[in-house]
């Protein structure tokens, strides 16, 4: 019974990793900003 519960929990964790991580990656935006931009020099990107 304990082994079965352990298997269920492991499966749940793996499922979360498989499904959630790509979703998190999808919401990440890679950005290039020019370091010499006056506004950036004042401490704010863009």
């Amino acid at each position: 019974m304990i082994h079965r519960r352990l298997l269920q929990v492991t499966t749940l964790i793996l499922s979360l990793i498989i499904f959630v991580l790509p979703l998190q990656a999808a919401s990440k935006v890679t950005i290039w900003a020019w370091a010499n931009d006056e506004v950036i020099r004042q401490g704010q990107p863009f």
């Binding site: 998190q24 999808a26 919401s27 990440k28 935006v29 890679t30 950005i31 290039w32 900003a33 020019w34 370091a35 010499n36 931009d37 006056e38 506004v39 950036i40 004042q42 704010q44 990107p45 863009f46």
Partner: protein
């Protein structure tokens, strides 16, 4: 970015700050694009957009920006074949600035707008000499300030590139361009073929240069330094036209962006009047490029900006490959001022350099 995250929780950014000048930034972007490692969203100099668009390296963002009103020069710079390929984020305007203290000392009205020939007569009145005859102050020289050879070329009614059915043709040797260079050459003769007639340098900031062409960004610095100045449109010869040129930073989405959907939302965010107005309110250095944002902040602008803002409708967009035009024309101008090249030879040199580059980048 934090402003965007305030309204869009769950979005994360991976921001790379790219150092170097604008040309280095562009080169690095080209390398990243070639390696399929371009960012989803990027800062760009507006003068680089047309060449990237012609090479299909930027996403068409016309539809997401529909309904927004940008300053005309900045909008033209990001337009290729009638479509927008970036969002203008910052606008610049340029005009003739005059130091009130120096004009007062020389008995010239700083509030008057000069006609073209006044540049010479006012220069005579505003110049000062040491006992040995060297200049301690000059009124004006066309190579000082933030206008450059390309500014004078447009002022004389000339151009650098013509666009025909999406193709770009360099035209550095056209007649009006030659007249502009001949006029600059006259100033070089006036100053005995040196670009530095005042020993130690002539500068508007220190009052050793009475009038020059300055941008809205320069004006912000003068205001901070408490230099009292007035502004006029840049005077033009009869064959020329009233112009200003601006150009600023834009934001764009490289083709093939992995997170294109979020990147386009970010682009609309940065293009919006409220964000551009908020940025001006918090930093007060770079003018918005969105007309509605300019209207939102207009009442808080220093009065010295008014004549510069009046110039915006006359803005000429910079030519494709603007950074390279700047260098080619600057080198040609230097050689002409020194007397090494005639105005015609100087322009032929620039045409040769830029024709080769245009072929390389855009094909024959």
């Amino acid at each position: 970015m934090s402003w965007y995250q305030e309204e869009n929780s769950g979005v994360e950014f991976d921001v790379a700050h790219i150092s170097g000048d604008q040309r280095v930034f562009l080169e690095r972007l080209y390398v990243a694009m070639a390696a399929s490692a371009a960012p989803d969203f990027t800062w760009l100099d507006g003068g680089h957009v047309k060449q990237l668009a012609a090479q299909a390296l930027l996403e068409d963002v016309t539809e997401v920006l529909r309904g927004m009103n940008f300053t005309p020069g900045e909008e033209q710079e990001v337009t290729y074949r009638g479509r927008l390929y970036a969002a203008p984020y910052h606008a610049t305007s340029r005009g003739l600035v005059k130091r009130v203290d120096v004009f007062g000392e020389a008995g010239v009205d700083p509030h008057a707008d000069p006609v073209f020939d006044d540049l010479v007569t006012w220069n005579q009145k505003l110049s000062k000499f040491a006992p040995d005859g060297t200049y301690t102050r000059i009124g004006f020289a066309p190579w000082f300030g933030n206008w450059d050879a390309r500014g004078w070329i447009w002022t004389f009614g000339g151009d650098l590139v013509i666009e025909s059915e999406g193709r770009f043709i360099p035209v550095a040797t056209m007649k009006n361009n030659l007249e502009a260079f001949e006029w600059i050459d006259e100033w070089a003769r006036r100053y005995n073929r040196t670009k530095a007639p005042v020993p130690g340098g002539a500068s508007f900031d220190t009052g050793t240069l009475a009038m020059t062409i300055a941008s809205t960004s320069n004006a912000a610095n003068y205001i901070r330094s408490e230099i009292e100045f007035t502004t006029s449109p840049v005077p033009h010869p009869p064959q020329g036209r009233r112009i200003t040129w601006g150009g600023g930073y834009v934001v764009g989405v490289p083709s093939g962006a992995v997170n294109k959907t979020e990147a386009l939302k970010l682009l609309v965010f940065f293009a919006s009047p409220r964000v551009q107005a908020r940025r001006w309110t918090e930093f007060q250095s770079l003018l918005p490029a969105n007309w509605d944002a300019i209207r939102m902040v207009a009442s808080r602008l220093d009065r010295a900006y008014e004549p510069l803002l009046d110039q915006l409708p006359y803005a000429v967009p910079r030519a494709p490959m603007d950074g390279e035009w700047y260098r080619a024309l600057r080198q040609s101008e230097d050689l002409m001022v020194a007397g090494t090249l005639t105005p015609q030879e100087a322009l032929e040199r620039a045409q040769l350099v830029m024709s080769a580059r245009f072929e390389e980048v855009f094909g024959k």
